[in-house]
């Protein structure tokens, strides 16, 4: 008898993402909210923040409220499971960027564990694209490859602070800054040109790859570039060519990520709404031999744009007198049976917006009140 109400976008989208992931054979992964703190402490760079909410359990062991899902999965997955395809819809607890407070942030993501080939990278990107498609009509997925970055870094002999500076400047697409860095590090013109080009280029993968391939480059870079070219071809075939960009400002921590990395943008949001990459090195830190790639959708950030306050709080506000309990219940339920939402009150609640306001009169009938 009761009917499910129409779903709002913020309810519908997580369900849509689930059904997309499940149609590719991904299984839902659920986990506890607490983990021993040392798991996160050892991988604090992966989390981009050392701020983790902690408490002591009954044995005095320091526990953390989960700030990240991927770390838990990497830790908990069996080392002998050959392949696992998992998705999750979980809340994480972390400091919001630029804030001094902890927030509970809703994340939806997936992990594709046990495969490292063009198809599995491609499937992960395809699912990222399909996720973005649900979030905004105008979306882009920017790709990069950590293999390109580390090859250039080695070729230029950049280490320690200079290497950190290089990554920071690339992240900013700061071509002027990289030229200065190249100068101070005494790089030759070929090295400088490649470094500056990596900051400058951005756009459709084919054009960007052609531009990079015109420059002199270290030998060990070609494999990573070839992977990017293969993925571009694969996803163009799948009809997503116009949504892909190649941009080397997309960077993840080299201690955890080794291959393809990517960020998804939708026009309505000022920062990336999706972030992912290949994190074989994180797996290795937990002595897991499997390669792995995955991404997370920052659903908590995206949800906001789908929220719109309904124009009315209820179809009908039903006002009753203190001795009209029976009438109030009968009339209210009659109206609800007609599919209307009814709020019953003795007087008009502040700021309440109803399409119509009805009052029960002495005869047990309703009369309409205008401008209640």
């Amino acid at each position: 008898m009761e009917q499910l109400p129409d779903l709002t976008p913020e309810e519908r989208i997580p369900l849509l993402l689930r059904s997309i992931y499940e149609s590719y054979g991904y299984r839902r992964y659920t986990m506890g909210r607490f983990e021993p703190y040392d798991v996160y402490w050892q991988n604090r760079n992966f989390l981009k923040s050392e701020q983790v909410l902690t408490f002591s359990n009954f044995d005095g062991k320091l526990m953390a409220l989960r700030p990240d899902v991927t770390v838990s999965i990497a830790k908990n997955i069996a080392a002998d499971s050959v392949s696992a395809k998992l998705y999750y819809i979980e809340n994480v607890f972390r400091q919001r960027q630029g804030s001094r407070e902890y927030s509970e942030i809703s994340q939806i993501g997936l992990e594709n564990i046990g495969n490292d080939d063009v198809y599995s990278d491609g499937e992960t990107l395809l699912l990222a694209l399909k996720s973005l498609e649900q979030l905004g009509a105008d979306y882009l997925l920017c790709l990069s490859h950590m293999g390109v970055i580390s090859a250039v870094m080695d070729w230029c002999g950049l280490q320690d602070k200079r290497a950190d500076d290089m990554l920071e400047l690339l992240r900013q697409k700061n071509a002027d800054g990289l030229r200065k860095l190249a100068d101070s590090a005494g790089l030759d013109p070929d090295q400088t040109d490649l470094l500056v080009a990596l900051a400058r280029v951005s756009g459709e993968p084919k054009a960007v790859l052609e531009e990079i391939n015109r420059l002199k480059q270290p030998e060990n870079m070609s494999l990573s570039l070839a992977r990017l070219a293969d993925l571009n071809t694969l996803l163009c075939e799948a009809g997503y060519g116009n949504r892909l960009r190649l941009d080397f400002s997309v960077l993840c921590d080299l201690d955890y990520y080794n291959g393809l990395v990517f960020r998804g943008f939708i026009r309505q949001l000022p920062s990336a709404v999706l972030s992912g990459g290949r994190y074989d090195k994180l797996m290795a830190r937990f002595d897991k031999p499997q390669p792995a790639i995955g991404f997370a959708v920052y659903w908590g950030e995206a949800e906001r744009i789908f929220r719109s306050a309904p124009a009315f709080d209820a179809d009908i506000l039903l006002l009753y007198g203190s001795s009209q309990a029976k009438d109030a219940m009968r009339i209210g339920d009659d109206l609800r049976r007609q599919g209307l939402s009814v709020r019953s009150e003795q007087s008009v609640p502040p700021d309440f917006r109803a399409k119509r306001t009805l009052r029960i009169n002495r005869d047990g009938q309703t009369e309409e009140i205008k401008n209640a």
Partner: protein, 206 residues
Amino acid sequence: MLNIALPKGRLGDDVYRRFSAIGFSCAAMENEGRKLIFRDDEHDVSYLLVKPSDVAVYVERGAADIGVVGKDVLMENKPDVYELLDLGLGRCRMCVAAMNGWSEDISLPLRVATKYPNTAREYFSRQNREIDVIKLHGSIELGPVLGMSDVIVDIVETGTTLKENDLSVRSVIAESSARLIVNKSSYHFEKERIDKIVNDLKEVAL
């Protein structure tokens, strides 16, 4: 519509002239007034005039697509934005300065008065020097003059203020100048338009 955040004051005026020269003039901007937002539908652009230290906040959060801000502010706050061009305007140096004749007692933490606590901490921690940061919002030079701090970390343009207060530069932390910053999402969706702005701005600077 492209939203451009400019710092209020002389730097903002100089930068506006450059934008105007490359086809983004905005008639409303030319009138003096107290308005903070200026729209020009003909050139499809609007300008926001904000406190210099806030420009990056507007750009990072996407309220502005583009902004112009001093490198000193970027070093201090490290916003997650693209920094596409050094405009060469508003040149200055981030310096450590002290009273003339002052000598350092390395057995005590160094008391540093500054508007740039993060920059100061980062610089001195790289030298393994313990510091006590005194955050001020203006007239930083008073710190050492009154003996409240040992040194200051501040931007120095001509050095006149230092000289008049009997201070001098002890070391240079970094060079600063005005930078063109762009919101990361806006950049990818408006790439052609923004690339053209960067290239055109390079030309007018020459």
